[in-house]
Each structure stands twice: as structure tokens, then as C-alpha cells.
């Protein structure tokens, strides 16, 4: 079980978290204006790297807030945060 670093509660067991997949996936500002390809990309296509992945986690059994983690998907090692990136929420 991984230790996930919640920026508000500190490192906690993975079982307290919900996984949110790739970070920084933005909904197109005007869904009606994008092509079918771009809409499909937004809905279904995510990066799937073997290596460093920037991803979302939600501390559902704790503070219930979303945050971003950089993790190596090969070793499952959580990488040091890049300052402000870590506690960023999805809404800007």
C-alpha cells in the first residue's frame, strides 16, 4: 500500500484516497465548437506513461480535498512536489 502525501493532512495510507487519473485535463471552453476528434480526446484519451505521471488524488477519508501528485508508475515512488503545484485544486 502506498503512502500518499496529502498536502493538508500529511502522508496517509492509500486506502484513504480516491484516484482521479491524469491531472490538468481541461474541459473545452465551448464543447459545441470543438471537433469530434478533440471532444473524444477530452473524454477518453489520457496519457499512460511508464514513468513520471502527474495525477489527481482525493483524500476522501480525510480532508476530502483534491490535489496533484507526481508519481513514477513503474516504481510507484511518489516524487517530490514542485512547490505550488501540489496543493493546486482543479478549479482555477
Amino acid at each position: 500500500m502506498m503512502l500518499i502525501p496529502c498536502p493538508w493532512c500529511g502522508p496517509r495510507n492509500e486506502i484513504e484516497f480516491h484516484y482521479g487519473g491524469q491531472a490538468d485535463v481541461r474541459c473545452p471552453a465551448d464543447p459545441q465548437a470543438v471537433s469530434d476528434e478533440d471532444w473524444a480526446t477530452f473524454l477518453f484519451f489520457r496519457d499512460n506513461p511508464k514513468g513520471v505521471f502527474t495525477e489527481r488524488w482525493s483524500h476522501v477519508a480525510g480532508c476530502r480535498r483534491w490535489f496533484t501528485v507526481r508519481r513514477d508508475t513503474d516504481s510507484n515512488r511518489v516524487l517530490p512536489s514542485e512547490g505550488t503545484q501540489q496543493a493546486r485544486t482543479v478549479t482555477t
Binding site: 484519451f45 499512460n48 506513461p49 511508464k50 505521471f53 513503474d74 510507484n76
Partner: protein, 410 residues
């Protein structure tokens, strides 16, 4: 029942079933991935389409990835016409495969029960049974009493937290010995002169414009008329080198076995709600699986809390399993799609074909995949059975949503 020696019906050691040649510099067809799907595709390319100047390239050892790690369940009771067509075709091939390969696969049609634990699940299950029947797939809806007759060790009492309200029953479903399936295909391929190259990892592609003309490997470049990918959880790593994005996510999927027990479990039981599937292997291990670990990973291992939950579900459904011991747990890397259906067909690159996205349920489709993917590669167009499983469906919106029939159980 007369006592029998465990393993008495096992075939000879696989070491002598195939050679492990060095790769040649060029082939008509190169298959990336020496698992079940890669081997079956090569087999039907040779048998149905006469292509034998071919290599199957495997980064590790033959059938050592998900083909060695699955729970060996075979069934075809999927909801939609597209899936029923493909999986039922596979099941029909399974029914003749031991004879076809002249090799013991321990294919045992002991049936599968898919349990329903809520009214909604009951309605969905009955709907699936009717859909199966319309597609010529054997299926019945059973009430709890009938379920108990088929599987007496299952707890069908009403005082469960999630009582068994009934189950779908597919009598022709069952299990096979997964390793033997791979060995059977491999032996046949070796005899037909197909190169099964182990310890040869494909790291990229050689291309001329949008045409793929070969692969780069850890054992040097290999030219190929056509390249067919059957690399499961590692597909993205390869297609990323082409800038080709696929709608798949790689996750750990775990399974476990108990120590060897006397035969107690007569069938296969799957439960989407309480999240476990259980059968008993010929040798006697209880074989348990459940859902994926939630996060993306290529690490071939998962977290213990996932299997703890799955064992809790198993003990709830089968109280007698509380006294069994876990012998071994393991993980594989599975590639999951947004609609829980596979991707099989053409790519935007000429002479490159992809078969991936089988997620947690690729084993049961092995011969069907081989048959259809071989057709796709040989004719440069999809077989009618895999045409609906194109990459384009994510853009057109014609998804094949099998979360209900596949979700956990897949």
C-alpha cells in the same frame, strides 16, 4: 471417486515444445508480444492465411505476462451483440481447440454463475440472459434455490449482507489451463516454422512516413512487412514512440490461489457487487480474482488491501473458505478502456495493427482474438466480428459498453 495423482494428466515439460531461435533480419509479419493473443494470432495467420515467415517477439519468456497471471475463466455471456459475436466465436473455438492443437488444455465446461445481489442487478441479469439467448449464447436465469443446487458450498441464505437473489448461468462456460493453451499454440507454431523469439523486447518502430516497415528491438532492428501488436498493458509505451495516443490506462490486476484442496467447488462463481470471482483449478487450488487497483501502474504488483477486500467477499459467499490459506498472490498489468471493451484493428499507420484494451478479461477471448486479428492483418481490414472494436469508435461514439457484463468480472 477414485483417488488420482495430482498432475497425472499434465503433459510433458514445456521446454521441449519449441525452440528459441535468434531473430532473423526480416519477416513478412512480426507479432509484438508472445502472450496468448500474440501466439493465437500467429497460429491463425499460419493456419488460415498461410503466413509462416513470421516471428513472435517476446520481451520476457513465452506467455510469462498476463497469460501466466489470469484466472483462466472462459465465458461468452456479454450483453451487446458486438461482444456476444466475438466472445461466442471464441468459445466455439475453445470447444474444438484441444483437438485442433492436439494438446491437453484441461478445458472444462463447468459453467459460470454470475450472481445478482440487488433488485437492479437482478433486472440487469435477466436482461443479459435474454440478450444472450437472442445471440445464440446459452444462458439461464436461476433463482437462489437453483443456484444452491449447482453450487452447494455457496451461501444462499437470506441473512447475508448482500444476499444472493439469483444468478445467470452459462453452462458452456468454464476454465482452461492457461499455460497449456500457450504451450499448445507455441508447439504448433514451432512445428510450422514460425520463430518464437524470447528475451527480445520491442522498443520502437522503423517507419517510412506513415508506413511501419519494421521494429527496433533489444536484439537489433527487424524488418517486417506487417507489424501486429499484442502487448497488452505495455501497448502505450510502444505507441507513444509513434505519437499515437490510445484510450487505454494500465493498471495492476491481482489474483491469488489457496493451497491445494480436495475438489469442493464444482463451477465458476462471479460476483460484481461483492467483488470476487472464484473457481477451483484442476490441481486443487482455489483461484480468486477481483477488480483492478485504482491507480495507473506498470509495476506488476498491487496493494494488499485490494486482495483483502476480495478475500472478505469470498469468505462471505463461501464460509468454508475461511479456513483456507493463501498460497500465493501476484499482479499483472492490464490495459483498461473507457467502455470496458477491447480495441482491435487498424491504426493510422500503414502495416501496423493493434490489439489491446482487453483489460481484465482477455484470456477467454484468446482463440477468437487470434482468428479475427489474423484476418485483420492478413487482409488489411477488420474481420466483421472485430470491426465494431475499432479505435475510431471513441470518436464516432459507437462505444460497446460492457461495464455491466465485464466490470469486475470481465
Amino acid at each position: 471417486m477414485a483417488p488420482r495423482t495430482p498432475g497425472a494428466d499434465l503433459p510433458e515439460h514445456p521446454t521441449w515444445l519449441w525452440h528459441s531461435p535468434d531473430p532473423k533480419s526480416s519477416y513478412d509479419v512480426v507479432i509484438v508480444g508472445g502472450g496468448g493473443h500474440g501466439l493465437a494470432t500467429a497460429y491463425y495467420l499460419a493456419v488460415n492465411h498461410g503466413i509462416t515467415n513470421m516471428a513472435v517477439l517476446e520481451k520476457g519468456w513465452l506467455a510469462g505476462g498476463n497469460m501466466a497471471r489470469n484466472t483462466a475463466i472462459i465465458r461468452s455471456n456479454y450483453l451487446w451483440d458486438e461482444s456476444a459475436g466475438l466472445y461466442e466465436h471464441a468459445l466455439k473455438l475453445w470447444e474444438g481447440l484441444e483437438e485442433e492443437l492436439d494438446y491437453p488444455l484441461l478445458f472444462s465446461q463447468r459453467g459460470v454463475l454470475n450472481l445478482a445481489h440487488s433488485l437492479q442487478e437482478k433486472r440487469d441479469s435477466v436482461r443479459r440472459v435474454e440478450a444472450n439467448r437472442l445471440n445464440g449464447v446459452d444462458a439461464e436465469w436461476l433463482d437462489p434455490q437453483q443456484v444452491a443446487e449447482i453450487c452447494p458450498i455457496l451461501n444462499t441464505s437470506e441473512d447475508l449482507r448482500y444476499p444472493v437473489l439469483g444468478a445467470t448461468w452459462q453452462p458452456r462456460a468454464g476454465i482452461a489451463k492457461h499455460d497449456h493453451v500457450a504451450w499448445g499454440f507455441a508447439r504448433a507454431l514451432d512445428r510450422m516454422g514460425v520463430d518464437l523469439v524470447q528475451g527480445c523486447e520491442v522498443t520502437g518502430f522503423e517507419r517510412v512516413g506513415d508506413r511501419v516497415v519494421g521494429v527496433e528491438t533489444t536484439r537489433g532492428p527487424i524488418r517486417a512487412g506487417k507489424v501486429a501488436m499484442a502487448a497488452a498493458g505495455r501497448t502505450s509505451v510502444l505507441t507513444d514512440t509513434l505519437g499515437l495516443r490510445l484510450p487505454i490506462q494500465s493498471h495492476p490486476l491481482q489474483a491469488l490461489v489457496s493451497e491445494l484442496l480436495e475438489p469442493v467447488h464444482p463451477t465458476v462463481v462471479m460476483s460484481n457487487s461483492v467483488h470476487v470471482y472464484v473457481s477451483q483449478a484442476h490441481k486443487g487450488e482455489l483461484v480468486l480474482g477481483a477488480g483492478i487497483d485504482s491507480y495507473n501502474s506498470y509495476s506488476q504488483r498491487g496493494a494488499f488491501h485490494t486482495i483483502e477486500r476480495e478475500m472478505a467477499a469470498a469468505v462471505e459467499l463461501f464460509p468454508m473458505f475461511a479456513r483456507a490459506h493463501v498460497l500465493r498472490t501476484w499482479g499483472g498489468v492490464v490495459d483498461v478502456t473507457p467502455d470496458a471493451s477491447a480495441i482491435m484493428g487498424m491504426t493510422p499507420f500503414e502495416n501496423l495493427y493493434v490489439n489491446c484494451g482487453w483489460g481484465t478479461g482477455g484470456f477467454k477471448a484468446t482463440p477468437g482474438v487470434g482468428w479475427c486479428f489474423a484476418h485483420t492483418v492478413a487482409h488489411d481490414e477488420p474481420h466483421p466480428l472485430n470491426a465494431p472494436f475499432s479505435l475510431e469508435r471513441f470518436t464516432t461514439g459507437a462505444l460497446v459498453d460492457e461495464h455491466g457484463a465485464a466490470g469486475v468480472a470481465h
